[in-house]
């Protein structure tokens, strides 16, 4: 058994599982802050009920994110020792700053945010929510900076085969970093807004017409409707940035085998890397040239320019299309839902039923997007500096295979449990509605300990 392939599968499984949860917590922290601020401004307890419902989802997602994140930080050493040996001087400080500036902030104030409503003043509780939301975002900033540096390295020099930092500003704000960060933060916003709309739609279908359900539903739908066109624009800009810095990735995404003008936009195909051609191709003439160069005769890079040095075509071609397709579906669903909520003040049942599975559309699009960008960096781990094959450790393939199998089982079970709890929480809220025990909605400081509910 090949430890390289197995280690790649293991890291892929691990990071795929991990990213699901930060994707939720990054934006959900800000949504919770929004609920809290609306409550502070209006004194309407329905906002606080929405907060208490969704803070549980935050807590659970945060816990899943922490435990899977710890796993990743160990895997650098267990499976990829070559990575830190070669680029540790760059990656180290970025990771250290993530832990120092973000991790502790979140973890310490999470307790106050979750359980401290009656123990601290309303103002401190709001501040804790701000700090937790800010912490998750700062955390994303550092990780995206490191990931972008691996895609488009800058600000370093090689001495004795080891990367040394020369310009930290250039390292952090490397060429692809701003695009990647914006794209990821918007993806998180979309994931959360669809999750909130979807679970609220589920409550709606179960007959819940409570104020807190409406408030959450509107928040989710309108946020999604606003964010999705921005995301489509940001994604396009990110694509142009990739074209400039990683043309081989674009060539594989478009399954374009030969460099040249008037390149069609391939809608459907089964790329065949051995034959260097697309089978069953359906394409729009000149489409890719138009999208990427804004001219029908624009020259688009092809895979023939990068022999032996381009990523695998098939997974890239398809993961990119799944991401874009999901995004277009999100556009259609969120705009129709926004229309009905705004104009008719109601939600048609078929649309609500469509919104329930769409609760997970953000996950699908995010995963597909990450596969596009990460597989698109292959065969390099750090573009032009370190090949993936040179970073793998000396661990026996059988050990990696064993742990991979157990990880996969564990992740599958946890994912089922997580989704089960989300549905359970939504249905419970639907059943109790606004008749659930009143939370302690008071403006003044609440120092008395919480009574058992």
């Amino acid at each position: 058994m090949d430890p390289l392939i197995l280690s790649r599968m293991q890291f892929g499984a691990n990071i795929s599982f991990h990213i699901l949860f930060p994707t939720i917590t990054i934006a959900l922290g800000w949504v919770l802050l929004f609920f809290k601020l609306r409550y502070n401004a209006t004194n309407d307890s329905a906002w606080m009920r929405a907060y208490f419902t969704w803070v549980k989802v935050f807590a659970l997602s945060f816990a899943m994110g922490v435990v899977s994140g710890v796993t990743m930080s160990f895997q650098f050493g267990t499976n990829w020792p070559g990575y830190m040996e070669k680029v540790g001087n760059i990656a180290g400080p970025l990771l250290a700053y993530e832990i120092l500036t973000a991790f502790f902030l979140e973890a310490a104030f999470l307790g106050i945010m979750l359980f401290g409503f009656r123990r601290v003043s309303n103002r401190v509780h709001t501040l804790a929510t701000v700090l937790v939301a800010g912490g998750t975002t700062v955390s994303a900033f550092w990780i995206i900076a490191l990931n972008s540096w691996m895609q488009t390295p800058a600000g370093f020099e090689m001495r004795d085969g080891v990367a040394h930092a020369v310009d930290w500003w250039a390292i952090v704000f490397n060429p692809s970093m701003p695009y990647r960060l914006v794209h990821m933060l918007l993806a998180s916003g979309l994931t959360v807004s669809f999750l909130i709309s979807g679970l609220s739609a589920l409550r709606y279908l179960y007959g819940d017409r409570s104020e807190s359900m409406w408030k959450a539903l509107r928040t989710g739908v309108f946020t999604a409707a606003v964010l999705i066109p921005i995301q489509i624009f940001a994604g396009d800009q990110h694509g142009l940035n990739t074209l400039e810095h990683q043309p081989q990735k674009i060539a594989a995404m478009e399954a374009n085998w030969n460099t040249g003008p008037n390149v069609p936009l391939v809608l459907f195909a089964l790329p065949d890397e051995a034959a260097k051609e697309n089978r069953f191709e359906i394409a729009i003439p000149d489409g890719a040239s138009l999208v990427l160069r804004h001219s029908t005769s624009g020259v688009v890079p092809g895979l023939n320019d990068f022999p032996g040095n381009h990523p695998p075509v098939f997974p890239l071609f398809w993961s990119f299309r799944i991401m874009v397709g999901t995004g277009l579906l999100m556009l259609a669903v969120s705009w129709s839902a926004a229309f009905f909520l705004k104009r008719r003040h109601s939600l048609p049942k078929p649309l609500a039923m469509l919104m329930v599975p769409m609760a997970l559309s953000g996950w699908l699009a995010t995963l597909a997007g990450w596969y596009t960008t990460e597989i698109g960096r292959q065969p390099w781990l750090v573009t032009g500096v370190l090949k993936t094959a040179d970073a793998v450790g000396p661990v026996a393939g059988s050990h990696v295979a064993l742990t991979l199998a157990i990880y996969l089982i564990l992740y599958a079970l946890l994912l089922i449990a997580y989704l089960g709890v989300l549905v359970h929480l939504a249905l419970k809220a639907a059943k109790d509605g606004d008749t659930s025990p009143l939370p302690g909605v008071m403006k003044a400081a609440m120092s008395q300990p919480a009574a058992g509910e």
Binding site: M48, G77, Y97, A107, L114, A165, G452
Partner: protein, 334 residues
């Protein structure tokens, strides 16, 4: 001797890493211990015990992330060597941490019929994580020897550490609860102390046989004299704590935090002893802290952030502990 950064920085980071590990062992020690004690607690008691650690465990576990993070960023070479050698026990530790971390959250949110299952997973995860940590410590002390002798020694340390964590957990329950549960926790503490003492004696006897290097480091004159306060003080504290358990809980709940602080002091002394056994190696007998360290300019960048952020972290950790001070009440989200 003049002060030069390339020499000082790795030393500073070794110290910081040691500090992070010590804080981790003390803080996550008590919540891992509470997980172990789940096996002997009733359903209602389990809820109270969870309430006693609920607001803290996340921040506690973060110290492990910092410790491993420092190893990763300050000593990248050692990080790779240690973690590839400990591949399987690290995996077991991670599975334990994953299970207990999520069980903690799931048990409060699932339908009540399924709560029991997650309580059992919380117990299992805590035991697995504690044993794995002890095993790794044992194997690491011996210089990552994974022969039969190393494995046996690792198993011994694993048992000892799990017992010590259970003692920490019991001490935390004594501090955070009252009434019947508190009385029960005193008995748990006593049992756990006996087991810890047995384990420590066994480890002390086995160490010189297992590692001539550590033996040579401790039993030479005059170091022996300078080091003697460590074991002597530990033994005295141990005895004192043992005697305290016969007088707890005291009227008006005085001194309820004392067992916890005493145990923390014992942990700190033990840790100092371990640190002496390793120094100056970060991978025993193979890599010194200077050989394994990152480039000086990278360490300097990390240090600049650390000296600003670490005091802030410690300050707001204290704040969080103060907010949730006093006896544990029912933990609710609203």
């Amino acid at each position: 001797m003049t002060f030069d950064w390339p020499t000082a920085l790795p030393l500073i980071f070794a110290g910081l890493m040691g500090l992070a590990i010590l804080i981790y062992v003390i803080l996550d020690g008590f919540d891992l211990g509470i997980g172990i004690l789940f096996s002997v607690a009733e359903d209602a008691e389990q809820d109270t015990m969870i309430a006693a650690i609920g607001p803290f465990w996340d921040a506690n576990e973060t110290w492990l992330v910092l410790a491993v993070g420092l190893l990763l960023v300050a000593f990248p070479l050692a990080h790779g060597v240690i973690l590839t050698a400990l591949y399987i026990p690290v995996f077991v530790l991670l599975v334990g941490l994953i299970l207990r971390g999520v069980a903690f959250d799931f048990r409060a949110k699932v339908p009540s019929g399924k709560k029991h299952r997650w309580n059992r997973i919380f117990f299992l995860g805590s035991v697995i994580a504690s044993l794995a940590q002890g095993y790794m410590l044992g194997v690491y002390v011996l210089g990552l020897d994974v022969g039969i002798g190393g494995m046996a020694f690792g198993a011994l340390v694993a048992f000892c550490l799990a017992a010590a964590y259970a003692a920490m957990g019991a001490a935390w329950v004594i501090y955070k609860t009252e009434g019947a549960l508190q009385k029960k926790a005193v008995l748990w503490l006593r049992t756990a102390l006996v087991l810890t003492a047995l384990g420590m004696a066994a480890v002390s006897l086995a160490t010189p046989f297992a590692s001539p290097r550590i033996f040579a480091k401790w039993f030479v004159w005059p170091e022996m004299l300078y080091l003697s306060p460590l074991p002597i003080l530990s033994a005295l504290l141990f005895f004192w704590l043992w005697r305290q358990t016969f007088h707890l809980p005291k009227p008006d709940d005085r001194h309820a935090i004392r067992p916890f602080l005493t145990l923390a002091a014992i942990f700190a002394l033990g840790f100092a002893g371990l640190a002496w056994s390793f120094y100056p190696f970060v991978v025993p007998d193979r890599l010194t802290i200077w050989q394994a360290a990152s480039a000086t300019e990278s360490l300097a960048i990390i240090l600049a952030g650390t000296v600003v952020v670490l005091p802030v972290i410690i300050f707001y950790s204290f704040y969080a502990y103060r907010v949730f001070g006093g006896k544990a009440t029912d933990l609710t989200y609203d």
